[in-house]
């Protein structure tokens, strides 16, 4: 098991290096290699998750280790979807390294096999956490594309024409795709939150409370994105402002996911 995970980690590392290398050289062969390495890593990672699920007999979501690993998996899945749907593959150079880091963090965390309280162990957990992490992954992609937007915009404004020339997408395109990622992320997150609320209604042991810090920050993150979407709809704010909100939103996601638990007690293990 550990071997599979380590192998996945190494493949993601290689994929990250080649993706970044691609940005500096623009060699399509390098990209093809990076892309297939990512697919290979993703397949292995999926096998690992399934094996761990089978071995534990329950959805592996009890530890930070599992959640970080699942987060990485969701990021790669999102990247592959974007690459497949939009043919915008440069995004890998920004997103795959993020998945690698998430997986690396997972690797350093303790991985027990203790079960979640049986009361929580059901389909609610699976769907709730899956939707939330897919939403997070979409926001990570939006963040990566936002960065691409800002770099390209700066290059156009500074009148620089370095070899990155043809690799970064046109501003209009990255803006559109970034926006789509945010829309998808918000939809997934809304579903995840609603499932979370329904879930707590269904169990007696956990008392539903709005004052749980995790809940508060999740809603705050959600509001940031919803706010951005509304402003864009009403005033047509786009471009740099979308990119900035993708970055701020990403900061909020990180804090909600990892930061809250470090500082505040919560019913959520993570």
């Amino acid at each position: 098991m550990d071997i599979i995970f380590l192998l996945t980690l190494l493949i993601y590392l290689a994929a990250s290096i080649f993706h970044v290398f691609f940005l500096t050289t623009g060699d399509r062969k390098v990209h093809r290699f990076a892309y297939w390495a990512t697919i290979g890593g993703f397949a292995l990672h999926s096998i690992f998750l399934v094996l761990r699920w089978l071995r534990q007999g329950e959805f592996p979501m009890a530890y930070w280790y599992d959640s970080a690993s699942f987060f990485a998996w969701a990021i790669i899945l999102t990247y592959l979807c974007i690459a497949h749907l939009t043919r915008l593959r440069t995004v890998g150079s920004f997103v795959v390294p993020a998945a690698f880091i998430a997986n690396l963090i997972a690797y350093t965390l303790p991985k027990g096999n203790a079960a979640i309280s049986p009361a929580l162990q059901n389909y609610w957990l699976i769907t709730h956490s899956t939707f939330i992490f897919l939403a997070y992954a979409a926001f990570v992609a939006a963040f990566g594309i936002g960065l691409m937007y800002l770099i390209e915009e700066k290059r156009i404004r500074d009148k620089k024409h370095t070899p990155l020339y043809n690799l970064l997408p046109a501003l209009g395109r990255s803006d559109r795709i970034c926006q789509k990622c945010i829309v998808v992320g918000v939809i997934l997150m809304t579903i995840g939150i609603v499932i979370g609320i329904l879930w707590t209604r269904n169990i007696q042991e956990v008392k539903w409370t709005w004052v749980d810090p995790k809940v508060i920050f999740t809603v705050a993150t959600w509001l940031i994105y919803v706010f951005q979407l509304s402003i864009r709809q009403i005033f047509g704010w786009r471009g740099r402002k979308t990119a900035y909100s993708a970055i701020i939103g990403f900061g909020a996601v990180l804090f909600t996911y990892a930061g809250v638990n470090l500082f505040l007690p919560s019913i959520h293990a993570f």
């Binding site: 390209e152 156009i156 404004r157 009148k159 024409h161 020339y165 043809n166 997408p169 046109a170 501003l171 209009g172 395109r173 005033f235 047509g236 704010w237 786009r238 471009g239 740099r240 402002k241």
Partner: protein, 437 residues
């Protein structure tokens, strides 16, 4: 044995009025190819005639192929040979191969990296094929040349950056909008450069052109060229609300577009991107505009700087391309040599076999031998032929190999050619089809 020749004139050696006199118009090709076929000295031919060059490639057994091609040019166009001689150049064998590869990869073009020439070479070759003027050698040469042209396109960035102001504008627009379809371009003022830029934008998909001019008649005149909408220029600039790309080139002595005005316009157009190209001197657009969100301003100096850096980039890529051309030319030439030699060796063997088998038949008819004895005689004759031919064949290949090794020093020599010619003459050989022996 066929050798390759080229005679031509290009922008390197002749001014436009000279090139015009030797160029071939569309309807002249049929005549020209018939003319070439009737000239016995020229076997295969391809005529390449573009605005920057006129070249005739030929593969022929005639050692003075260049002279024949030259005569053809001067006869066909009825130009005094002395005059023609001043602005033509000629190459043969390896040099002509390398020259064609340089041409097809645009290394010999006026603008290195231009994309048209590959298509022009292809068209010229197709035309020659249709006219039945291309034989085995030129077929191989041009197929290879087109492949080399493609290889240089894919392996180098020789044609990547735009090298004219108007194309740079198009490329920048694509970096902002991705697709120019359903975009609107507004031209303020008039001028060759702004019209050319608009023209290129339209060719790249821009669907709507608006021309604003202080004089409505002027606007109408320019707008007609793009089937655009003419407008009388109005200082409140409301017509910019729908403009995605703005080109200004007026003679105004003050700025027409100020920051505050543009901020207002951007708000009205819901901050959709706007690309402003100011090619007027003095400038029409306040440089402060560059700071407005989602508005991108390039002036003539900015565009020229991009052109300069792209030219520099192309220069570097051209060096890589030149290496590819050199290697490919050497490779092609040695392949050609090898097949020349194979062809002559094959012809020689066939000739000997013909003679021996004829004599053998006569002899076997006369002598009444048992099948076993016949076998023995037969194999003896074959073995003698083989042994007789062994020495000359090996020597010939050796000579070719030696000239191969010289190629490494980029000093192509065709030492083996006299041997091949001598063999052909001495044994009255017609080279068989060349491939494998």
């Amino acid at each position: 044995m066929k050798q390759i020749f080229v005679v031509g004139t290009s922008h390197h050696t002749a001014p436009l009025d000279c090139r015009e006199r030797v160029s071939f118009s569309e309807h002249q090709f049929t005549d020209a190819y018939r003319f070439l076929r009737e000239m016995r000295q020229i076997g295969e031919a391809v005529i390449l005639s573009t605005c920057n060059r006129v070249e005739i490639y030929a593969a022929t057994n005639n050692k003075d192929g260049c002279a024949s091609l030259f005569d053809f040019l001067s006869d066909f166009h009825q130009i005094d040979p002395r005059q023609l001689g001043q602005f033509t150049y000629s190459y043969q064998n390896f040099d002509s191969v390398r020259h064609l590869f340089n041409v097809v990869t645009s290394l010999d073009s006026m603008v290195v990296g231009e994309t048209q020439i590959l298509g022009q070479v292809k068209a010229a070759y197709d035309q020659s094929l249709c006219a039945g003027a291309s034989g085995d050698i030129l077929k191989r040469l041009f197929t290879k040349a087109i492949r080399v042209g493609k290889r240089v396109r894919t392996e180098t960035n020789i044609g990547a950056g735009a090298v004219s102001i108007s194309f740079v504008a198009v490329q920048l627009a694509k970096r902002i909008f991705q697709s120019l379809e359903d975009k609107t371009v507004v031209i303020i003022g008039a001028g060759e450069m702004s019209e050319l830029t608009a023209q290129h934008l339209v060719e790249n998909g821009v669907s709507k052109v608006i021309v604003a001019n202080r004089t409505y008649e002027h606007a109408v005149k320019i707008a007609e060229k793009f089937s655009g909408t003419p407008l009388t220029y109005d200082a409140d600039l409301n017509f910019l609300v729908d403009a995605d790309i703005v080109i200004t080139s007026t003679n105004a002595s003050h700025h027409l577009i100020h920051r505050q005005a543009l901020v207002e316009i951007m708000r009205k157009r819901k901050h959709r991107y706007m690309f402003l190209i100011d090619i007027a001197v003095p400038r029409d657009i306040d440089p402060e505009v560059a700071g407005v969100e989602n508005a991108f301003l390039y002036n003539i100096d900015d565009l020229e700087a991009v052109v300069a850096s792209n030219l520099k980039e192309r220069g570097q890529e051209a060096e890589i391309a030149a290496q590819i051309v050199e290697t490919e030319a050497v490779k092609f030439h040695s392949e050609l040599q090898a097949s020349d030699i194979n062809a002559i060796v094959k012809a020689l063997h066939q000739k000997f076999q013909q003679i021996t088998s004829r004599e053998l038949d006569i002899c076997l008819d006369k002598a009444e031998l048992s099948p076993k004895q016949e076998k023995i005689v037969e194999s003896m004759i074959h073995s003698i032929t083989k042994k007789l031919l062994h020495q000359p064949t090996t020597h010939l290949r050796q000579v070719a190999l030696d000239s191969d090794s010289l190629e490494m020093a980029n000093d192509i020599n065709d030492d083996y050619v006299p041997y091949v010619s001598a063999l052909q003459e001495l044994f009255a050989l017609e080279p068989a089809d060349d491939t494998d022996v």
